[in-house]
């Protein structure tokens, strides 16, 4: 059975885990917009944003180093563009590119790692995201496991018979696509059998607790303060 670290993290308990997914999504959006529009030459602002992220990470009780390691996945992409800026003689912009992308990735990671996927998707839908998009993401997430398992089985079967040769890799991928298509047809049939009529019914997210509203207000206040002190 597949074991997904992020999913295990999302099912843990902490003050951040207990906050409503919609509140976390709104704060994330505010954070992303503000860090995205921060000026390059303001190290104090970046220090403030880093502190906010650090406090949030500590509140989540998740392993900080593992979080950092996963957030660092964006670095190769960010570093490519940063390198171009640096070569053009704009070292400040290069540094801010790396910081902005790392902080953004860390913030997104923190929200995803403290919110179970169903709650996250329900929150995205309640924030007026297109239903079809939510449905596609939901199916993608659900069947990623099934598909990866199928790919793993095919890989093991190939290993038992001497491994995958370059010439046969294309055929194996084609088989995987074909079986995915067959799987999709099966799922559609199962949906129809239980009354699917074109849209996915979701259990509505729970109503907001006063703690969530306080968290939202405090979060926006702290982020606004940071913005007002260093950016304006």
């Amino acid at each position: 059975m597949h074991y997904l670290v992020m999913e295990e993290w999302a099912r843990r308990d902490s003050p951040l885990h207990r906050r409503d997914a919609r509140v976390k999504m709104i704060l994330l959006l505010v954070f992303l917009v503000w860090i995205g529009t921060a000026r390059p030459a303001q190290p104090e602002a970046y220090a403030a944003y880093a502190s906010i992220l650090l406090v949030a990470a500590l509140a989540s009780r998740l392993p900080l180093l593992s979080l950092l390691w996963r957030a660092a996945l964006v670095l190769p992409f960010a570093a490519t563009f940063a390198l171009l800026s640096w070569m053009a003689g704009d070292a400040e912009r290069a540094a801010s590119l790396v910081l902005k992308s790392s902080f953004s990735a860390f913030a997104v990671l923190l929200v995803v790692a403290t919110t179970p996927m169903p709650a996250l998707l329900a929150a995205v839908e309640s924030l007026a995201a297109p239903k079809m998009l939510v449905m596609v993401v939901q199916f993608l997430y659900r069947y990623l496991f099934v598909l990866s398992e199928k790919a793993q089985h095919m890989w093991m079967a190939a290993q038992c018979r001497g491994g995958i040769r370059r010439a046969s890799a294309g055929g194996a991928i084609a088989v995987l696509f074909a079986s995915s298509h067959a799987r999709a047809e099966g799922i559609h049939r199962a949906m129809l059998a239980r009354g699917f009529a074109g849209h996915m019914p979701l259990i509505r997210p729970s109503s907001l607790h006063w703690l969530d509203i306080s968290f939202l207000a405090t979060g926006i206040l702290v982020l606004s303060l940071g913005r007002w002190l260093w950016i304006l």
């Binding site: 099934v146 799987r183 009354g195 019914p201």
Partner: protein, 233 residues
């Protein structure tokens, strides 16, 4: 007594030209558990898919007195609960609870009532503790139980189970027999497992090349067509 399902002269041909059903006549009465036996490709699953309106062939199908047409289809799908062979295809929602509420919500049931029905169905199948789990974290037996719960939450009159023992270990099969015999609904079950069929079936029909070749008890059919399990030792 009126049959719950009456099928007359059902014919079906797949787009590739394969004639899968060649004029099938069938009746299911209240309280029965009918086992559909037959070789792979004999038409059992194709036939079962017609009973939920998932395939549309020539001939007549009436379910609980309703004709199989576009107007009656939503009600027929409520009354005929279909449990598929591959539970992974049936459990497509992110959590067990969401999957079991999927059917009732589609029927227009209010979320609170859908949750109540789902809790009841999970209780009935012994899966209450798994309500918050993701379906892919369940064992094959648990998935099968949740798939059955997803159908039971729609309060069906008839259950159709396609190869329900697939990938179940012997304890899982015994649990499934206990569960199915405790459920009051009439059932149609396709299987190759004669021991399982004997344990739950009240009668059997044998499919051969798209037609019903014989009707009788599971034992009679198994011995007549050489479907007895292999001798021990």
């Amino acid at each position: 007594m009126d049959p719950l399902i009456r099928v007359s002269g059902l014919r079906f041909r797949y787009p590739d030209g394969t004639e899968a059903l060649k004029g099938v006549d069938f009746e299911l009465f209240p309280g029965e558990t009918v086992i559909l036996l037959g070789a792979n490709g004999s038409g059992k699953t194709t036939f079962a898919l017609h009973l939920n309106g998932l395939l549309e062939g020539e001939g007549q199908i009436r379910v609980c007195g309703l004709p199989m047409d576009k107007i009656s289809l939503p009600e027929i799908r409520r009354r005929v609960g279909m449990v598929f062979q591959d539970a992974d295809e049936q459990l497509f929602m992110p959590t067990v609870m969401e999957d079991v509420t999927y059917g009732p919500l589609n029927l227009g049931v209010e979320p609170a009532e859908a949750m109540r029905l789902a809790r009841e169905a999970l209780e009935q199948t012994g899966m209450s503790a798994a309500h918050a789990k993701a379906p892919y974290h369940l064992s094959a037996g648990e998935k099968r139980r949740v798939a059955i719960a997803g159908v039971l939450a729609m309060r069906p009159d008839i259950l159709i189970l396609d190869e329900p023992t697939t990938s179940l270990d012997p304890p899982g099969q015994r649990d499934l027999v206990d569960l199915l015999t405790a459920l009051p609904q009439s059932k149609i079950v396709t299987t190759h497992d004669i021991a399982f069929a004997r344990a739950i079936g009240t009668r059997a029909v044998f499919f051969e090349k798209g037609s019903i070749a014989a009707l009788g008890t599971v034992g009679d059919i198994a011995s007549r067509f050489g479907w007895e399990p292999l001798p021990r030792g």
